[in-house]
Every structure is written in C-alpha cells, then in structure tokens.
Symmetry: C2
Subunit: 588 residues, 2 copies
Amino acid sequence: MGNPYYECPLPVTIPPAKPFLESIKLGIKETLFPDDPFRQFKNQPASRKFILGMQYFVPILEWAPRYTFEFFKADLIAGITIASLAVPQGISYASLASLPPIIGLYSSFVPPLVYAMLGSSKDLAVGTVAVASLLISSMLGKEVNPNENARLYVQLALTATFFAGVFQAALGLLRLGFIVDFLSHATIVGFMGGAATVVCLQQLKGILGLVRFTHGTDLVSVLRSVFSQTHQSKRKPCFFWINAMAPMMSVIVGSVLVYLTNAEKYGVQVEGVAVGRSFAMFKNYHIDGNKEMIAFGMMNIAGSCVSCYLTTGPFSRTAVNFNAGCKTAGSNIVMAAAVMVTLLFLTPLFHYTPIVVLSSIIIAAMLGLIDYEAAIGLWKVDKCDFIVCVSAYIGVVFGSVEIGLVIAVTISLLRMLLSVARPRTFLLGNIPNSMIFRSIDQYPIANNIPGVLILQIDAPVYFANANYLRERISRWIYEEDEKLKSTGGSSLQYVILDLSAVGSTDTSGISMFKEVKKNIDRRGLKLVLANPRSEVIKKLVKSKFIESIGQEWIYLTVGEAVAACNFMLHASKSNNQVADEFDAHNNA
Amino acid sequence: MGNPYYECPLPVTIPPAKPFLESIKLGIKETLFPDDPFRQFKNQPASRKFILGMQYFVPILEWAPRYTFEFFKADLIAGITIASLAVPQGISYASLASLPPIIGLYSSFVPPLVYAMLGSSKDLAVGTVAVASLLISSMLGKEVNPNENARLYVQLALTATFFAGVFQAALGLLRLGFIVDFLSHATIVGFMGGAATVVCLQQLKGILGLVRFTHGTDLVSVLRSVFSQTHQSKRKPCFFWINAMAPMMSVIVGSVLVYLTNAEKYGVQVEGVAVGRSFAMFKNYHIDGNKEMIAFGMMNIAGSCVSCYLTTGPFSRTAVNFNAGCKTAGSNIVMAAAVMVTLLFLTPLFHYTPIVVLSSIIIAAMLGLIDYEAAIGLWKVDKCDFIVCVSAYIGVVFGSVEIGLVIAVTISLLRMLLSVARPRTFLLGNIPNSMIFRSIDQYPIANNIPGVLILQIDAPVYFANANYLRERISRWIYEEDEKLKSTGGSSLQYVILDLSAVGSTDTSGISMFKEVKKNIDRRGLKLVLANPRSEVIKKLVKSKFIESIGQEWIYLTVGEAVAACNFMLHASKSNNQVADEFDAHNNA
C-alpha cells in the first residue's frame, strides 16, 4: 500500500530484542552507575586491580605517595586559613544547634581527618553548616529541652548524627545518591534563603540580649517573642533599646562590610556533594557523587562516636580553601591539627566570647545564603521555578524548617509529575523549499499540507499521560476537520504522528496508540507513523500493533511520510491537483 | 563564525515571549481543560449559551426532549436485562461489604436515577462493585465489628459513601480527574486480580459452610482459618468434606460454565469513568471524564442520604447494557423501576437465599477480573510493567487491600520518576546518501562523522535529570576522545547536541547546558546545538546562554550543524582530507 513518492534512503529498522537479563543489566548500569566508576579497572591484571580498588575506596593511598613538599606548603597555608574560619564558625553553629561550643570544635577535628582519607575532592573543606545546625535544634528541640536536659539533648544530637551518617553511607553504597537530584535548584534557593532568614531571626535573641526566647523558628513566634519582651520592659523601653543598640550596630556594620567585600557571596549551592563537584569542574577532575556520599557517611559515623555532630562540605569554606591554593585533601589534615591546638590551649578563652559576636558571625555567613539575585534570575527564565522557590521560602519562614522542606519537595515533584502528565503536542508544517517539518507555532513560515494532519508528540508516552494524549489527539483531529469543513477545502485524509521525541513508552502508551488508530479508522482516515524510536518500535512489534497498522505506513522521517501520503492522494484523484497544491505551497 | 557548507533553509526561530498571564492561562487550560469542554459555547448568543449550559450540566435535558418510543423499547429491554443482574449482584456485593442485603438493592435504585439525570454516558449501567465492597468491609471492619455492632457499621459505611461522593465531586469540579491517570494499566490489572483473588478466598466461608472466619483478607489468615476449622472437625473430616462438597461442586460447575460461555470475560478495566469512556468510543461520542466524576459524586452523595452504599459503573454490567441495545441513560431508569418492584414485592423471598448461592454469584463475577492473559501480554511487551502488576497482586493477596494499593501506586510513581531521572542519550550517525542522522544503536548502517560527536538527548531536561545528563554527556565525550586517541584518528573537534526530543526545560536544565558548555570549552572543543524547540530556545535566550554560545552555532537540523562543522574542519586543514573522509563515509 505505502508507495512513497521517491526512494526511501532506509526503512525504519526494528532492532533485535535484547535478552531480558542483558537489558536489566544495562538498565541497572545506566540507573546506578551512569558515570561508569569502574572503567579504569577494565583490562587490568588482578594485582593492579587490587591496588586500583584500594585507591578507589581510600583515595589517600592514591595521592599520599605522590605528595611533595610543594603540595605541603600550599596545603599548610590553605589549612591554616580555613582553620581560622572553622574555629569561630564551629562555635557559632554549635550554639545555633543548642550544643556546647566544644562540640562545634570537635566537629572540625575528627571528621576532616576521616574525609582526608576517604574523600575524593581535593578542594572540599569539611565542617559544620548553619542550616543543618538549625535543623538539629528545631527538630530535637521539640523532643528535649536543651537547657533543662543538656546531657540527653547532646546524646540525641550525636545519635541523630550517627544515623544521618548511616543513611548517607547506605545511599552511597546502594548508589542511590541521585535521589538528592530531586531537590531542584529553585527549591534549594528558596529553602536555603528561608533557612538563612530563620537563622538570622534566631540571632535577634543574642543581638537584642533577650533572656527568654521562643523555641519556634517561624517568623510569627519570633516577632511575638521579641515584641512581648520589649513590651514587658515597657517601663524603661529606652534602656532596653540602648542596651541592644551597641551590639546591634556592630553586627549591622560588620554585616554590611562583609556584604560589600563580597567575602561570603559565592551564591547558593547544594551543600556537600555538589560543592565538591563544582570545584572539581574547575580543576577538571571527576567526582563520583555516590563515593562522596559514602565518605560523608563514614565521617559522620566516626564523628558521632567521638562527640562530633553533623558535618558536611560547606560551600563558603570550600571556596576559601580553593582560593587559598590547596592542592590535596591534606589541607583538611592541617585544619584538624590547627583546631586541635586551639582545643588544647585556647579553649578557656572561648568562655568569654560574647553571644553577640557569635550571632554576628552567623548573620554574616547567612547573608550570603539569601540569594535574591538567583530568585530574580528564576523569575526571568522560568516563572514556575520562581513559584517553587518562593513557596519553599515562605514555608520555611512562616511555617517551620520541616514544613518548608515538605512543601518544597512536594511542589517540585508535583510540577514534574504535571509536566509528565501534560506533554505538549504540536502541529507541524513544511518549511518552504525543504523536506524539513517543524512546529507551526515556532516557525510561522511553515506550511500546512492539504489533507494531511501532522502532529508531534513531545515527550515519552506513559500511563500518566496516555489518556491525556488520546483526548488531545482526538481534539486536534476534530478541530482540523471542523476547520477544513468551514473553509470548504480538501477533506482530511491522513494523520501523521511524528514520534521523534517519544523516547520510550509503556503498555498504557501502546494501548493509547491502538485506541488512536481505532478512532482514526472510524473516521475513515489513515494513521501514519514517522520516526518511531528504538524502544517504541520494539514495543509496537511485540504488541502486534505494527501488524495492524502495516509496516509500510511507518517512515523514517516526516518528510517521507508526507511524500507517501501525497503520492496516495495524487493516485486517488484523477488529476495532478494535489501535487500541484503541494508544489504551490512549497514555492509560496 | 558559523559558516555553513550550503544555504540554510531557515535559521532557528526564537518565538516572541508570551505575556505571563496569557501563558498561565494557556497552561491552566491545557492542564485542566485538555478536551476543551466549552468549545460548543463559542460564538453563541446568551440565551443559547444558557440552554447549552443547562444541557451541559444536566444532560437529561439534552436527550429527554428527543426521546422516542423506539428508544424506550430498546431501553426497556436493556434495563430489565441489567436489573436481572443488579438484584443478585446487589445482594451478593452487600454481603461482601458486610452490609444487609437490602442496602445492596437500595444501591441499585436511587443512584441509577441520579446518574440518568446527570451522567453523559449512554451505555453506563450504575451499580455496586465487588472490589469497592471488599474495600469497605476490610477498611471499616477494622474499626467496627459488623456482627456485633451492625447499626454503627452501616452508619459508618453510609458516611464513607458520602465522603467518597464529596471527594469525587470535588475532583471533578476542580478538574483534577487526571489524578486517576497516575494509576497505570499494569497497576490496575495486578490490583484487580489481587482483589478478585481475595474476594474468592473470602467466599470459602460460604462455600465450605464455615462458621467462624478470619476478618483478615490476606492469603495466610484465610488459609489458616480454613485449615484450623477442618482441623477442629478432625474426628469426622469426611462428613465435613461431604457437607462442603455439594455446594462446592455446584459453584465449580457454575463457574466453569460461566467461564466457558465467556459471559463475564470482558477483560479488566478501570471501573467508573474509564468504563463509560471505552463504550463511548464504540458509539463515537465524547465523554468528559471530570463531568462524569461530578455525576458519580452527586450520585453517591444523594445515595448515602437514602441508605445506598458506594456505587459506580461496573464494566460487566455496562457491557451487558450495551449488548442489550440500550439507547440512552433511560435504561438506568428502567433498571431502577425494576429494582423498586423487586424491593416492594420480592424482598421476603431473598431471606431464604442460601449463602452458597451468593458466594457463587460473587466468584463467577470475580473470575473475569483475574486477567492472566493481560498479565502475559504485559510480560511480553514491557517487563517493567509486568513487575508492577505482579507486585500489586502480591501486595493485595499476601498483605491487605490497602498495602496493595500503596505498593502499586508507589511502584508506578517510582518507575515514572526513575524514567524521568534517567533519560537516554544516543550517539547519532549519518544515514548514507542522505542528510538524515539517526541513532547508531537503532540503525547500525549509520556512519560516524570524523571529529564530530553527535549526541541526542531523549527527554525533557529537568532538575531531576540535569545532573545525570551532565555526567553522561561528559562520559560520552571522554569515551569518544579515548577511542579516537587509541585508534590514532583525527581528534574530536565538535560536540553537537540534538535537542529535537527536549520538549522543555527548567532553570536546572539551563544550568546543565551552561556547565556542559564550560566543560566542552575547557577541553578545547566547540558546542553546537541542533533544533532547539520553542520552550527551550526561549529559556536559552532569557538566561543569556545564547549569547555565550553564539546564535550562529545553533542549527535547524543536525544535518546542517554537521555540514557547518565539516566546513570549519575543512577550512582549518590545508587540504581536502576532511571532506574526502566525509564523502568516503557517505559512499561506504
């Protein structure tokens, strides 16, 4: 039946079915090992494989033998630089987590040593981070009051750290690190901004010198707490404000200075794995996200056993490490040593650190996290991402950190599910003087082919969108038919589905194609497929759909499908009317 | 810079940005009104709009004025036919839901009347269904024992029906009926098969004449219940089996007869909306799923107020209605009338219906739901769908109905998320004697172009797959580089990304493109884009990526991109080597 206008370069190929086990193996490899971490092991003798394996799991074995004095000099400078950040930040963030300052210092001592052995990033500086600290205090604070039952609270924090480590290591070992990818960039901008706002609000306690303070993290509780105390001090409100003014001014001035010098303004980034990865890109080496997850997990498991709480790779400190010229993870060892010296000799001094200084350190670090420029960028490029971002922010600031997280993840997933459930379909037209067919929406110059409706389905067809696509295609056909009837032109004869963008499908998708064919047949039209892809054509063959449509009605390109339709239209009419129409359109 | 080999038919067009509100309006329309239900209202005077609106919401106003005696004769026969099914099934399913038989009959009286007014399907027969009945007894049975506290149990069942109706009507009014699409065909085959198995197992009580029986629905509890009772009757096991034998034989013979005559074998289908829709397709009229949801919701709300429990449109009865030649929803009115007569005059008779008869009615109806042929079809076409189906089945049979539902929905969603998170990337090659480029995997005849790596991304780029795609593209480049180095051929110069299948993207996707470009630049290669689609190119422009790549490096087709790359390679070499290589490949 299908008798194309001109010679096809090639019919659509049906690839041979792969054995089930092989395709499962390939699927698992692509899902869990997309970066092919074991490619260096291929074609190596067993002894070499063992050494490579040890170096793979304990990277220090790889770089330590090549360690030079040059490297050491660079790492020493970088290590001392980041230690000078680690000490005050460690103390501040520990107070944010309602933990004793000493635990913040411990956390900058053991985990960096573990990471130096197991981690594969050369630039990552290990330490505690503000958002995780806030999460700890807001979640554990609900169960145990850190002021009344400090010992139990610390134990709970260390247990939480241990299980966080186990969870990280398990995700890494099971190669499930990609789950983290489901937090979109927009979600993270909103969430981090919200968390930073909350952290800053919490600092009002230290800055205003308030004694009693809410345990809630939301804006309403905090403002109520602040205003009720100023209200209670109603008799001498001036004194209260004078008391608060000096430290507040110092914080404001300090923060403005930090902001102007841009010291913390490295933009918002997912902390941890993504941090290592972004810096690895600068130096052009590769980071295996799942292996890093294992390193982070081991570092938290080991840390929790020696009184360290949750640590990761903070972006700001890693950037400082990078700029200070670190060469290997050795800078983490130097930092750990410097922190140890601090612990041994300088701890008594920290007893006298005023809370307001800690608060200002935290606020200074937090201002860089409120990335309003990124939010503006989101608004410009993708309104929907902006809405996700703002929802996450509002959820964190007005609800709680958990509510914010849940809202952010839910909206992101819903948005993705919605985009899967509602793929676009486009009407294609012929670009003049070519065999190319493109969407008429995008290329208004493209021409309709009389009697032929060409639709492009713009996404994989799955159960979630099969019903929608069936309805949408039937609406396209109905509308085209109505249009042709009203203009009195030639009636619709062929429906070409361009499957170029349909990467895969499932049994619901196959049912959709069958129903679309039935519907088209009932209208007395003919269904033609163009460029079905490997996965799709395999399933069309297995489900016997190909027999019902006829392999001669499946073409490699839309151009060939149209040529074949035109040939048939031409053959069915007694004169050259159709071909003339086509040529006239082409030359228009 | 971009200086193509031959004249482009057209550069890639950047469509003008749509106003924000207009694009939101379009998005909402495509998401919630994909079938454009109000298209008939366009360009009509106000009075006509009012009449159409009334007919839209109360379809009986549309068909009743045109009702003829011919229609009535057809509906009368069909209505009496389905009433003869509705009475025994109503009683049986009520017993399955642990409700008094009379409630099963009521449920075939009021809801069909409501549906006849509000429903838009001409073929749907309203009534109770086995799976929903099972769900009611298994869920409510946990809270209230129907034997000990029958009155409370009935009240609970009616309240549940009311809220189910409210939920259905709300989904329909909010045009969120598409949420149902997220239950895949495979899930439903497995879930319905599992539920049918469980229902049949429950009938062992009636068939074996057991007195005490488990309230659990899982296989283990039921078998334990059956064997413990046969065990207790150990002293006269023969008598037990003789007692059980006669009814069991009648059920077996009856079921085999039903199976052979194929009366119930209409295959598994989502009940309710999908049922109406499939029959509407036969008669070539359109069903608005969301409007049907509202009709079902109203019918359950009204029903629950007059002692009817959950009803929907069962597939088997609808098929009988269709085959009996119904013309309008009038057949439901006839059925309701027939059931009313039964209620008035024949109710006393049902008191003597033996349980074993009810059990056999249920088993006969259930056998059609265990659609092992569909499961075999799933295995043949899509292994992954088969796994989803089997998991749902096992979850229902060995766990509980709720566990089965949760497993089924979770696996379906996970599978879809995974497919979004791991889109395929393909290496493209040139189909000899053409400008067509296709996957080398699918078309082994396709040739590599020396010095040019052509990759096709096979799905929309979102936050969930942006990281993966970046890693995967960098691995493709690394591998191609290694291969070229090892064969000593010409080195890699250009990377062409074919974006034909990338229907849309978000800000994470744009970041991915930026990072891929940085990575390619660092390797001293050149990134070229082919056929970016409307949504993608808009975002590339807004994010200024287009300026960094240069619009002259974006081509309408892969063929033109390759031609331009070859031209540049050619210009950079002193002789015709590259062009010769290309021609040699093309003629190979």
